[in-house]
Amino acid sequence: MQEPIIQIKDLVAAYGDREVLKGINLDIYPGESIAILGRSGCGKSTLLRHMIGLAQPKSGEVRIKGEDIGSMNEEERNEVLKKTGMLFQSAALFNSMTVGDNVAFPLREHTDLEESTISIMMKMKLDLVGLSGFDDFKPAELSGGMKKRAGLARALAMDPEILFCDEPSAGLDPIVGAGLDNLIRRLQKAFNMTIVVVTHEMESVYIIADRIAMLHEGRILAVGTKDELLNHPDPRVKQFLNREADDEEMDRDSYLKTIMGKDE
């Protein structure tokens, strides 16, 4: 078996004293596309933030190509980050810049390329995501789906080896969303990237992912291909895959805890 490109070991993440991730273990291999699936609020974005070094784990570690990203100094981490791209849930385009400048920005800051070369590369990236001709638009002038595409073009600017996507199709209508998922899948195959997609939507997963990791209550419940998960012994896995609603039963104690705002 290949060496994993990303290794998550016993990752515990907390906001204050509240643990959101309670010991995550996951290996991600080069060239694969993995979906991390879980309900809203279960800590998917938190997990991504730790994988890309935006947040420090409470304990445990995330290794990218064997190096612990949490214990790197800023310079080392920035070198790693140059080779990764991130598509945010809200696209996170720089609103003060045009779409073209957004895509060109990482190239301008990280390379010594001529402005003319950068402009060509920027147009190529926008073309890849189907936004050619939109370089002079401001992000505010784009629709939600177009913003995500522009965010994707910016994430691809430096030809990353690893692409992280936070809920790429969330908040888009099903057709536009599926289009974006297909686009990500196509680009992954074309450039042989490793892709980590976080999502709560099964449709996305079926389009994008080779493997699925199910996140539930701060732990990875199951990992495997779609077929493996469909035959998984744990009923909660099947429940999520089949989109069944939760039974609303709750004992009195946990109900009290919920309304008192205590999590544990």
């Binding site: 920035n78 790693v80 980050l81």
Partner: protein
């Protein structure tokens, strides 16, 4: 009774801890900004001059009309108020002294700082805060680019360069305001008033005002950026932080003013 006391003490303790934590945050942001301003440029990580100049235009140049207007009228007002007192002694010529000295030493730096706090300190917080809630700050970081270098340093440099410049302009325009009043209502000749102004002013008056304004600029810029970066929770958070940014800056400016005035008063 004890319950109320407990609550009160608890609140005092919490706010103290809060303030201490903010102070720690400001200290580390200052250290980081210092690194990107003074050390990193020698390690081939250049200052972002283009952004800095953009900010200088936004913060400094665009504040000019309002600073000019207010400085002119304040000069006029001081001249009037001093004339009211000095007329009784028949020494209205000293209006020139009072206008020149009170403006350069105190009023021009203070007023300019307060105007710029309202106009630009708030804008800095709102801008950075909005970038924070829309994940733009995180996006910078995931590209391997340091937000302090790209967002904080250009604004801090811009304001520290522009505020003293604006203060000099306010000095001149304020003195002109006093001159206009003197010429209009007092029985003084133009040459005499100008001579008196020049002889009243010392280098110390000008420089102490300018030194103050550099520190005021640091307060506005640093606090503005810090409040922006500590925004939590959406548009409402941006609004709250912007208000806090203005209130805290003005308070700190007054504190610093007391400190420096005392320092200059006792040493010069």
């Amino acid at each position: 009774m004890t319950e109320i006391a407990n609550k009160l003490l608890g609140n005092i303790g919490r706010s103290t801890l809060d303030v201490l934590q903010q102070l720690r945050g400001v200290r580390s942001l200052t250290a980081e900004a210092g690194y990107w301003m003074f050390i990193a440029p020698f390690r081939s990580q250049k200052l972002k001059w283009k952004n800095t100049i953009e900010q200088m235009v936004k913060i400094g140049f665009n504040s000019m009309p309002i600073v000019l207007l207010i400085a002119f009228f304040v000069g006029l007002i001081i001249a009037m108020q001093s004339a009211y007192q000095l007329e009784r002694f028949g020494t209205t010529i000293y209006v020139a002294n009072l206008v020149a000295v009170s403006l350069t030493r105190e009023l021009a730096p203070l007023l300019t700082a307060i105007i710029v706090t309202g106009r630009s300190g708030s804008a800095i917080t709102a801008e950075i805060g909005t970038m924070k809630v829309s994940e733009e700050v995180d996006a910078l970081q995931t590209m391997g680019l340091n937000p302090v270098r790209f967002l904080v340093v250009p604004r801090l440099l811009a304001i520290m360069i522009m505020l003293p410049c604006l203060t000099v302009i306010a000095d001149l325009v304020g003195i002109f305001g006093g001159y206009v009043l003197a010429m209009g209502t007092l029985d003084l000749t133009s040459v005499r008033y100008i001579d008196q102004t020049i002889s009243a002013l010392t280098f110390r008056d000008l420089s102490s005002g300018l030194i103050k304004s550099v520190f005021f600029a640091f307060i506005i810029g640093m606090n503005g950026c810090f409040q922006g970066l500590s925004v939590r929770g959406g548009a409402e958070g941006v609004g709250k932080s912007t208000t806090r940014s203005v209130v805290v800056s003005i308070f700190l400016i007054i504190l610093a003013d007391v400190f420096f005035t005392f320092l200059f008063f006792s040493t010069f």
